[in-house]
């Protein structure tokens, strides 16, 4: 592992030398909405706590063609996935989420699409100096400088970045820009430790996960579900903005004889999500759907993969139109246990 320093004024040169498409947080309507390819106009990373849409969409696109076919032929063609991408500025929680979700896409059968995208991305994370109001990563196994899933982690030291490599992929990437970097000394590493501690102290929200995974099944009929879902609108904001939510739907699209089969994000908060062909729906109301969202993250996934499928990024809390707050739900779960 190496620890190198990059002066911020060398940023344009740094991103210009990397071999691969560089993706960074992009500002639209005055805010970092999502990651996008570098346009060449950016001389630095924007100010952001985190992007609204998580970078999961880079490895798990909202709509992805599985294969194309012709109605009158038997041939099918799958799209080529071959673009190398370097994601710079991904937050530790979102990189951890990719690692967590990968378990699912490797379980049972390997998902070639997800795994190919994942193989082709290099994740250059940016540790959080100032976590947001609703961040609670430290409660669910992460942290403002967690390196899980990352190839390189960067620390913002005002006029320069400290870059630490985590994987061989990360080492290889830094080799490409060797001339721009200088070795980091002990003083810088000490400064880094202080930054991490300060960031951790800024996290004000927390969840006590002790006993939740085992206890949730016993709360199946608890009145809390009705209470916490009463104001739910049934929209997909919480799940679509969630870096670990990974449900998808498969649809066909035809135009004349041309057709394609694609997958597209789906949300367990939608009414038709589990509606059967008969019309019967085992999750008939928002109560059952909300219960499923929490159970999936904090019980089923733990059961299957020994991991909580929530990284504490706070997006579902920040952007819920009606203040449905997962930290508060989990507090009530804990209380009911």
């Amino acid at each position: 592992m190496s620890a190198m320093l990059l002066n911020k004024d060398k940023w344009p040169e740094f991103v210009g030398k990397l071999s691969g498409k560089v993706w960074v947080p992009k500002v639209e309507e005055g805010e970092a909405i999502r990651f996008g390819p570098l346009s060449g106009e950016e001389s630095k990373l924007p100010e952001y706590c985190n992007t609204r849409v998580p970078p999961k969409e880079i490895v798990f696109p909202e709509t992805e063609t599985l294969y194309c076919f012709q109605a009158d032929e038997h041939e099918m063609t799958a799209p080529e996935i071959d673009e190398r991408k370097i994601i710079i500025g991904i937050r530790p929680c979102d990189a951890r989420a990719m690692k967590i979700v990968e378990k699912l896409f490797r379980w049972d059968v390997d998902d070639p699409y997800y795994l190919k995208h994942r193989e082709l991305v290099t994740l250059v994370g940016l540790a959080c100096n100032a976590p947001g109001l609703n961040c609670f990563c430290t409660s669910v196994g992460g942290g403002p400088a967690s390196t899980e899933g990352l190839d390189i982690i960067m620390f913002d030291l005002e006029d320069r970045y400290l870059l630490e490599t985590i994987t061989e992929k990360g080492e290889a990437l830094l080799k490409e820009v060797e001339g721009l970097l200088e070795e980091a000394g002990q003083d810088v590493l000490a400064q880094k430790e202080k930054l991490i501690e300060a960031a951790e102290n800024k996290i004000s929200r927390s969840v006590d996960t002790e006993g939740i995974a085992e206890g949730l099944p016993g709360l199946w009929e608890d009145p809390l579900w009705k209470r916490v879902s009463a104001s739910c609108l049934g929209c997909g904001t919480c799940t679509y903005l969630c870096p670990t939510c990974h449900c998808f739907d498969i649809q066909d699209e035809t135009e004349g004889f041309e057709a394609r089969r694609y997958r597209t994000w789906d949300s367990c908060m939608f009414e038709e999500y589990t509606r059967h062909a008969s019309g019967h729906n085992p999750r008939p109301t928002r109560r059952e759907r909300t219960r499923n969202r929490i159970n999936h993250k904090y019980s089923y996934y733990v059961d299957k993969f020994d991991l909580i499928a929530c990284v504490g990024c706070g997006r579902c809390i920040n952007y819920c139109p009606v203040n449905i707050d997962i930290v508060e739900i989990l507090r009530q779960v804990k209380e009911a246990l």
Binding site: E62, S231, T237, T264
Partner: protein, 326 residues
Amino acid sequence: MDLEQLRKTAAEVVAKDDVKYLIGWKKGTYGYRVSPVFIENEADTEDLIFSPLCTANLVTYLTLVEKPPLPRGQKPDTRKVALMVKGCDSRAVAQILVEKGIEREQIIVIGCPCPGVIDVNLLVAKYPEVAENTELKWSGEDFVLIRGGEEIPVKREEVLAEKCRLCRYPNPVVSDIMIGEPVKPWQTEEDTGVSELEGKNVAERWEYWEEQFARCIRCYSCRNVCPLCYCEDCILDRLNPTWINRAVNFSENTAFHIARAFHLAGRCVECGECERVCPVKIPLGRLNRKLAREVRDNYGFEPGLDPDGKPFQASYKPDDPEDFIL
């Protein structure tokens, strides 16, 4: 507003046997957030608030009621629903009544004259620090932020929600019980968002909306929060036939937003909820207010003012302009 009066009235309402619950606002779980609340017991009315933070429109809950199949022999709950409304919200109630989406005797409307609410993003940008027990109150024409015992005056124009800058109906147009005195309507600002787009040519406008719609993630929060998007079978959810494909791309997203805008033409009451909830900041208000402006300018019609009136599409006048007919 006198909160004591509000809570006392609410307690009397929920105490009635024929009332299921009262929908109001309560303090949220963090920061400046306010949360909708469903109150069934008199004791819980203590949670009710009405402040400049109560931006959300609760009328959507009238039509969002779920009706799962009932066990054999069980009768549906037909008790009344009470809800708190601001001026803009009450227009949605009036419009749904016009459309016969709900029955008048099924609801109890608690009218709250509204001096204007805030855009929480503007407030957070200006005053990011939030302490325990932070409150925002009306103070004359402006607001006052009470934070950690300190009172900070907040200028109206700094944090006022866009819908309030354009608001012509701050007092509820339909109500059973009014809490507090009516407020005096204020001088509205020009809707620069719409005017600016009208000033562009077709190509420029297309480019503008292309950029906006391309960003849509199709979470449908705009549709679900809209009090007037209450079709039981929305064309977006239909698969047979598939009017709008599930694929998320500019073409399908545009079909979605245009379909929604047209379905709301002459019905949208400009409560601003679609724009408030959009997680990717699409200025949907501009689209819906443009159609509202067309309807107002061409036909002199404004929806959601008279609960006994006719819907726009059913209100023909002999002198209606018809120059758009080819």
